[in-house]
C-alpha cells in the first residue's frame, strides 16, 4: 500500500531548495502581492481519503484552472456541438494565437487558450442569460464538485484583471467580428474574468477534480457530472493543451493530464485512481508554477503513476 502522506512529506522537503526560484505573476497588482514562498499539495482518493502537505487550506486565485470547470459545464450543456465554436487540438505559442484566430475565422484551437475559454464562457452566457446567473451557475458547479458551499471569488482580482485585460478584449472582439461570440463582448469578458478570480485551496481543488479521474462520476457521492466520453475528452485536452507552451514539457516531466493557472495552482488527474492539486505562486518561464510542477514530477516518480 502506497504511503501517500509519506510521499507528500518527502516532496515537501525536496522542493524546499527551489521555493525561492521563479517569479510571481505581476501583470496585475492584486496577484503580485501574494506571499511568494507558499507551497501546498493535496490528493484525494476515490474512497474519500485525502492527504495534504503545506498550506493546503490557503486560498489562491485559480485563474486558468477555471477553464477546466467551464469547459466541463459547456460540454454537459452543448455536447459535441460546442466544437463548432472551439477546437480541441494543441495550438502554437501566444504569438500565433491571434494569427490562428484570423486565419481560422475566429475559431480558437482549444478551450484552454484564452480565446477558447472566452468562447466557452460566451456559450455559458447564452444558456444562463446574464453575468450574474452565469457566474452563479459556474460557482455553484464548482461548489458542488468541491462539496464546499463557501467557495467564492476575489473582487479585487476580478476588477483588476478586467481593467487590464486588453489582450483578451482584442481576442473577444476579433472572434465577435467573425460571429463566434454571441453575447455582448463586455458581458462575456466580465464573466470570464470573474470565474478566473475564484479562490480555492489545494484541498478544495483536489476534491473538485475527482470526478475527472473517474469517468465523470464523483466516486464519493456518485453524482454524475458528465459522460465518460466527455471526461476522457477533458483529460485528453488537459494532456495535450493544459500548460500553454509547456504542454509537452509537462507531459514529459509529470506525465499526467493537468491544468495550471497563473495564480500558482495546478490540478492533475491520475485516471481511475485520484486527483491532485498543488500550489506555489512563483512561476517558471512558461508561466506555470515552478515548484508545483516539480512537486508533481516528484509525485509521479515516487508513486509510479506516470502514464509513461
Amino acid at each position: 500500500m502506497i504511503q501517500y502522506q509519506e510521499i507528500l512529506n518527502d516532496i515537501y522537503n525536496e522542493i524546499q531548495p527551489f521555493i525561492n526560484e521563479g517569479k510571481v505573476a505581476n501583470y496585475i497588482p492584486a496577484l503580485a502581492k501574494v506571499d511568494p514562498d507558499q507551497f501546498a499539495m493535496s490528493l484525494t482518493l476515490f474512497d474519500g481519503r485525502s492527504f495534504h502537505v503545506g498550506c493546503s487550506d490557503n486560498k489562491f486565485s485559480i485563474q486558468s484552472i477555471s477553464k477546466v470547470f467551464t469547459f466541463t459545464r459547456a460540454l454537459d450543456i452543448y455536447s459535441t456541438e460546442l466544437y463548432n465554436k472551439v477546437g480541441k487540438e494543441p495550438s502554437g505559442d501566444p504569438f500565433n494565437s491571434l494569427i490562428q484566430l484570423e486565419h481560422e475565422y475566429g475559431i480558437p484551437r482549444n478551450p484552454f487558450i484564452n480565446a477558447g475559454a472566452i468562447v466557452v464562457t460566451d456559450a455559458l452566457l447564452t444558456k444562463y442569460k446574464n453575468i450574474d446567473n452565469t457566474f452563479d451557475n459556474i460557482l455553484g458547479f464548482i461548489r458542488d464538485i468541491s462539496d464546499d458551499q463557501t467557495i467564492d471569488f476575489d473582487k479585487e482580482v476580478w476588477f483588476s484583471e478586467y481593467k487590464h485585460g486588453f489582450r483578451n478584449a482584442a481576442l473577444a472582439n476579433l472572434m465577435k467580428s467573425f460571429n463566434n461570440i454571441d453575447n455582448n463582448v463586455d458581458d462575456v469578458l466580465k464573466t470570464y474574468f470573474k470565474h478566473c478570480s475564484i479562490t480555492m485551496s489545494t484541498k478544495e481543488l483536489s476534491r473538485a477534480t475527482l470526478f475527472l479521474a473517474n469517468h465523470g462520476v464523483d466516486p464519493i457521492n456518485q453524482k454524475q457530472y458528465i459522460t465518460p466520453q466527455q471526461a476522457k475528452r477533458i483529460n485528453a485536452v488537459m494532456l495535450t493543451c493544459g500548460h500553454y507552451d509547456a504542454s509537452g514539457e509537462f507531459a514529459f516531466h509529470v506525465g499526467l493530464p493537468g491544468k495550471s493557472g497563473v495564480g500558482g495552482g495546478i490540478i492533475a488527474v491520475v485516471p481511475k485512481v485520484m486527483s491532485l492539486a498543488v500550489f506555489s505562486p512563483r512561476l517558471n518561464s512558461w508561466g506555470n508554477s515552478l515548484v508545483g510542477t516539480k512537486a508533481l514530477e516528484l509525485f509521479t516518480t515516487k508513486s509510479g503513476f506516470s502514464i509513461f
Copy 2:
C-alpha cells in the same frame, strides 16, 4: 490473462465496414498506387510473443514514422543539446508552421513536424558526414531494433518524394537562412526523403518500437538504445505531437503515445507493456490512417490500456 489474438481478430471484423472509407495519399504517384483496402495489425510483448492479424507481412512506406527513429538516434548522439535546434512542444496547423519558423528564428517546434524532422536529419548528417553513411546508420539502427537485417527502402518513392518536395525544400532553406541547417540543403533533403521511403510491415514495426515501451531497453535482447529519460521524452512528444493537427484527437480516441505516417502506418506504445503497429492506406481528413486509428481505439477499449 488477456487473449490478444482474440482481440485482434475481433478488431479485424469490426473495422471491415470502414475499410473503404478515406483516401490514399496521392501527392506522389508512387504512394497512390498502393492497394487501398489493406489492413494489418501487430503487437509485440516484452516476453517476445507477438500477435498479428491481416496482411502483417506486407511492406509499406513508413514515411513520418521514420521521424521517431531519427529522433531516437539524434537524442542518443546529442542528448539535450539537440534542443538548441528543435523544440519539443506541439505546434499549430501547417499554415502556422512556416510563420512559426519565421517568428522563432528557424527553430521548429518539435521533431515530428516536417521542419523539425529535417533539422534532426541535418544533425545526423553532421555526425555521419554524407548521405550514404547517414542513411546507412539510420537503416542499420532500424534493422537492429527490428531484429531484421533485410529491411530496405523504396527507390521509386524516394525519388518521387524528392522530386515533389518543394514545401520541404522551402522549410529547409528558410531554416538554413537562420543558420539552423548545418549541411548542404539538398543533401539534407535527399537523406530525409530516403529514410521516409523505408518500407516495413506491421510485424517489423511493432517489433522495432518495443524499446520505447520499455524505457529505452529492448526487453527481448536487453540492448539499451537510449536512456529511460530519453524514451520518456520520445513518448511524451509522440503523445502531444504525434499526429499533426489530430494529436489531441488521437490522444482522446486512442489514449496512447503514437506516430502516424502518410503511408497508412501507425505505431503506438503501451508503456511498460507492449508496442503496436497498424496499417491501412486510406487516410482520414487529418492525414492519419482512418481504419488504423479506429483499430487502435478498439484495442484500447477492449484491452483497457488507455492512459485515461
Copy 3:
C-alpha cells in the same frame, strides 16, 4: 486655358454606362440605404473658382476620408513625434494588418489603415481630453478648411458603426495591450466612429482639401494649417497608402495623391494646382468608389495632370 466645366461634363457622360456597377457598402444598415446611383464631382482652384457636376450638394458619409483630416490635426500638434505611435509606410492586406500589429508591438504601419487612424484619434483625445472636445476640434477644423460652419455628422451612422465595430475594437484593444493607446479604448472608438460619420458634399470636400495642394496654406484665405513638409508628407502617405489594397492600382490609374472612403467619396490633390472630390456610392472589389475612381482617371487623362 483648360475648360474644366467641359471636362467635368464629358466625364459625367462617359461614366453613365458604369453607374450601376459595383456594390454599396452594406456592413451597416445606415450606409446600405443610400441611393446607389448618385454621382458628383467637384474641383477647386487656387483662385477660388470651383467647378461641379452631378449632385455636388448631396451630403454623404466621408468615412475614411476623415483620416486625412485627423492625421493633419495630429501632425500639427505632435509633429514628427507622432511617428512614435504610427508609421508612414504602406501595409499589406487586411489579413496582415493584425499580424503586423502583433509582430511590430502595436505600432500600425500608417495613419490610413484603421489601426493607424485609431492611434491618431487617440493622440487627439489625449490633447483634447474628452470625446466631445476632441470631436468638436476635429469638426471645427473640417468646418474651417471647408469654409462652411454647417458641416455635421450623422448620428445614425455613428451609432451603427460603433455597434458593429468589433474588428476595430480588436485592433484598439490589441494596441492598448502594447501601450500604444493612451486613453480609454471605448472613448477612442466612439471618437473615431464619430469623425468617420461626418457628412459632406463633393463641393465641401474639394474646398476642404485645397490646403493640401498648396503646401499647407489655403490659397484662398491664406490661412496656414500645417507646414509645407507636413503637407508633402500627407500627400506622400495618400499616394502610397490612400486606397488600402488598391493603392498601387489607384496610383496607376489616377496618378494623384488621394484618399477614398467606403461611403463612396474620394478626395485627390493636384499639387500646386487644385483639389478634387468625387462621390458615387457603389464600390469596386477593393472597397473604393468604382465610378469615382473612373472619373478621376478620366480627369487626369483629359487634363494631363497625372504624376506620370
Copy 4:
C-alpha cells in the same frame, strides 16, 4: 533654363558631410569589398544631353534595379496575364512577405519584392527556355536600352549570391509548392542571381531608364520597348513599391518613381522630362543608398521636379 550641371555640382558638395554615413551591404563578401565612399550621379534628357558628377563611369552591382528591367521584359511578353502570377500592390515588411505568400497561395504582392522578381524571372525562363538564353535576352535588353553593348555581369557576385541565397530559395520553393513557379527552381534562382549581378555605371543606368520617362519610347532613338500603359504601370509600381519598407519615405523625400538596389544604386524617373541614376554604396537602415537618397532629394528640391 535649368543649369543641370550646376545643380549636380552643388549636390556633390552638399552630400560630402554624409559620405561616411551608413553601411555597405555585407551579406556576401563580394559586395562588402567595394570602396564605400564613392558617389556618382547622372541624368539624361530627352534630347540626348546628359550630365554627370562623381565617379559616373564606375561600374557597380545593380542588384534589385534589375527587377525593373526584367519586369519590363515580362510585361512586354505576357502583358496583363503576368498579373496571374504576381500582384502590383505594396507589401508589408520582409517578415510578412513569407506569411503573405503562404496566405495568398504563392502569389507575391509585387514584382519588386524578391518573391515577385523571382516569379518574373521564372516567366522569362519559360519564354527563353534555359538559363543562358534567358540571361542573354535580359542582358541584351539592358544593353539595348543603355545603348551600350559592353555591359556585363560580375561572376564572383553571382556565385556568391547564389551560394548564400537560402531565403530566396525558400521563397522560390514555397511558390513552386503552390504551382506558381513553372521551371526548375535552381534554374530560376541561377538566372535571378545572374541578372542581379549585372554591373553598370550611373551614366549607363540613367541612359537605360530613359524610356520609362517617355511612355515606353526611347526619346533619343525612338525605339518603343513597351506601351505607354505599361510604362505608366512600371512607374506606379516604382512609386509605391520601389524601396521596400521605405517606399513611403522615398515618395516623401524624393517624390519620384524610383528603384534602389542593395549595391548602392538608385534609378529615378521624372515623367516626360528625364531619367536619373545615383550611386553610393553605404546604405541607410532600410537598405537604400543613404547618400543616393539624399542626392535625389536635393535634386527634386533644387529643380522643383517633385510630384508634390
